[in-house]
């Protein structure tokens, strides 16, 4: 019966790599989707505190980020160690907030502007003074929806 020994004695064929690109592309798309480009280089140290009652920020395009923390080591010679505000990729003062909000707002379609959230990424060691100033400025600018960025507390038993 030649049916069973047809391929005997032949060299093994090379493994087809034709599907390899597909697999890689799949991985690629996965990472492209979950990626959020680091749009700003952090100049302040931000280690957000832990909390339990968290809500997730859904739409990234409707969120602007305000960072508050102590300047990184290499900026301390110029900016000191007092907590500073960072907007976009540079140090800023509270007075720069309205312009920053406006710049973000014009990129958002008009119908969605009410849903814009300001994410406050604040270092845990900072005192409330600067946070309060930022909050007051946000209120004055009419940006009332804010989110105190926090990490999920690992153990549930407090």
């Amino acid at each position: 019966m030649s049916k069973f020994n047809k391929k005997r004695g032949k060299t093994t064929p090379a493994i087809s790599t034709a599907s390899l690109p597909d697999i890689i592309f799949m991985l690629l798309f996965f990472f492209m989707v979950v990626t959020t480009m680091r749009d700003a280089e952090l100049k302040v140290q931000v280690r957000t505190p832990f909390a339990t009652e968290l809500t997730k920020l859904e739409e990234k395009s409707l969120v602007n980020y305000l960072y508050i923390g102590r300047p990184m080591q290499n900026f301390q010679a110029v900016y000191g160690t007092k907590p500073r505000l960072q907007l976009g990729d540079k140090f800023a003062t509270v007075a720069d907030i309205p312009l920053f909000l406006e710049q973000h707002k014009i990129k958002v379609p008009e119908s969605r502007r009410g849903a814009i959230t300001s994410s406050l990424r604040v270092d845990g060691t900072v005192t409330m003074g600067i946070v309060q100033d930022v909050k007051t400025q946000l209120r004055k600018s009419g940006q009332l929806k804010i989110n105190y960025s926090a990490k999920k507390r690992p153990d549930m038993s407090r």
Binding site: T17, A18, L20, P21, I24, F25, L27, L28, F31, M32, V34, T35, T36, M37, R38, T48, P49, A51, T52, E53, L54, T55, K56, L57, K60, V63, K82, P83, T117, S119, L120, V122, D123, G124, T125, V126, T127, M128, G129, I130, V131, Q132, K135, T136, L138, R139, K140, G142, L144, K145, I146, N147, Y148, S149, A150, K151, K152, R158
Partner: protein, 176 residues
Amino acid sequence: MSNELNASSMADIAFLLLIFFLVTTTIVEDKGITVRLPPWSEEDPETQRLKSRNVFSVLVNAQNQLLVRGEPTDIRDLRERTKEFISNPLKREDLAEKPTMAIISLKNDRGTNYETYLQVYNELKAAYNELWDELSQRKYNVPYSDDLPTAWIKEIRGEIPMVLSEAEPTSFGEEN
């Protein structure tokens, strides 16, 4: 000679892109405590007389110590005390008349640590979340979440509204 396109370099190109995205990726946990700030107004807010039994005052000083209704309290007891104040299960004279009248007043110092402040806020929010959850279990037999029908959420929130008023902070402590 076959007329097929040589696709063997496709994998390399895809790999290159993949590695690029791997490097630039930060799977950020964009989570936090969402708060709605009160609108700004230049005028002084009109003073309201409230019955002191309906007000649950929480003060945090620059040493990160808590003063709840005039007595020093540990942050671990804050959630239970808040819940008891709002729901007032024993109908005590010194706690809120009913949940709709309860007001939480939070006041901190400019020298308070942000971490402490957020923890206090977290506990107060947790107290409300737990009360909402209990009510939701009782009424609809489901745990409270934002995915419930809007009418139910409205019903629950109408019965126990979250009223948290933040006073202008004091500035006794040192800021740094």
